[in-house]
Amino acid sequence: MPAVTPALAAIIFTAGAVSGTLGALLGLGGGVFLVPFLNLVLGFPFGVAAAISLTTVIATSSTVSAGRAGRQLINMRLGMLLEVATAGGSFLGGITAHLVAQSVLQRLFGIVAAVVAIIMLTRLRRRNVILDPAAEPGVLGGRYYEDESRTRVTYRVRRLPVAIGASFLAGNVSSLLGIGGGIIKVPILNAWCGIPLRAAAATSAFMIGVTATAGGVIYYGRGQIVPTLAAAAVLGVQIGSWGGMRFGAAASAKWLKILMAAVLFVVSAMMFARGGR
């Protein structure tokens, strides 16, 4: 493991800022970029990379959700229901992380990421919103003001068991690989459960704080959250996600989806390259 010098802290800070910006734009934690960077480029052990990444995921979630609170974009009730599944999955992942071969997990993640990217690309034009303002969202659905169409949009949640299953899987992968799990939840909530991308991303960003904490606490107990590295990464991600949040409101849902799919393919290829070694 490389020694922590001011130069290394600066590099990690910058990497955090880039990951944070991309993460906030895509509704991911940003860990998807940070884990490969810390592990492959800087040569930190995978467990340490995952632990640092989970710490930044918590920070991103808290910052982004604090900034969005009061705008009804976060579906709190749905988020809290699905958290039961993500936190459970994350807890199980956290206690089994050191038992599973890393190469197996990396290849599995590569497959999942590629499949999700393809789903995103085939559903670019779907909107999932009911424009009639009098429509009832039901107990779990939501309403929010959409900037693009300048109206209040309503949506209903469909196929709840699928959302719960995806959340459990996302929580599990989160603590095993050190990511937020939004990479799995957001596309599935959007493609199959009727939730608009913007609301799915906001709700996912809200949930990943609790998800990453369930796994992060276990990494903390193992002593894998190195304070200096975590501090540099978290501060970088804080600044990056603040910037990404500003920019994200202006980007259109279609371009967000295309960008997200491209990112997923790159992550998939990187995971395969690493898992094959």
Binding site: P6, A9, T55, I58, A59, S61, S62, T63, S65, A66, A69, G70, Q72, I74, M76, R77, M80, L81, E83, V84, A87, G88, S90, F91, G94, I95, G209, V210, A212, T213, A214, G215, G216, V217, I218, Y220, G221, R222, G223, I225, P227, T228, A230, A231, A232, V234, L235, Q238
Partner: protein
């Protein structure tokens, strides 16, 4: 519970949660920033490490505090299904803390 009451409760909860998250993330960021700069300037002192540890613990505690606040709010609103769901999430987080203590003892 009427639709209006439920919406008013949801908006209040969203505001409280926003405040809890902002307070937690601000406290931890300040601790981490001061600790990191201090550690880079003077490597011998143990204070910067303590500050960064505090920052990490506050960061980990923030989502837990958010769940605690949600449980309390749903209990006050007598929204039992959601009080139960958020209480389960809290138990899962406590289970993680117990697992962390067990790992810590083994190492």
């Amino acid at each position: 519970m009427t639709q209006g009451e439920r919406r008013a409760g949801a908006e209040r909860l969203e505001r409280i949660i926003g405040r809890v998250l902002r307070a937690g993330v601000t406290t931890s960021s300040v601790c981490l920033a001061v600790g990191l700069l201090w550690a880079m300037a003077a490597e011998t002192s143990s204070m910067p490490r303590l500050l960064m540890q505090t920052g990490i613990i506050v960061l980990l505690a923030t989502p837990v505090a958010r769940v605690v606040v949600s449980v309390a709010e749903y209990v006050v609103e007598r929204d039992w299904p959601f009080a139960t769901l958020t209480a389960i999430v809290l138990l899962e987080l406590l289970a993680s803390a117990v697992a962390a203590l067990l790992f810590n003892r083994r190492l």
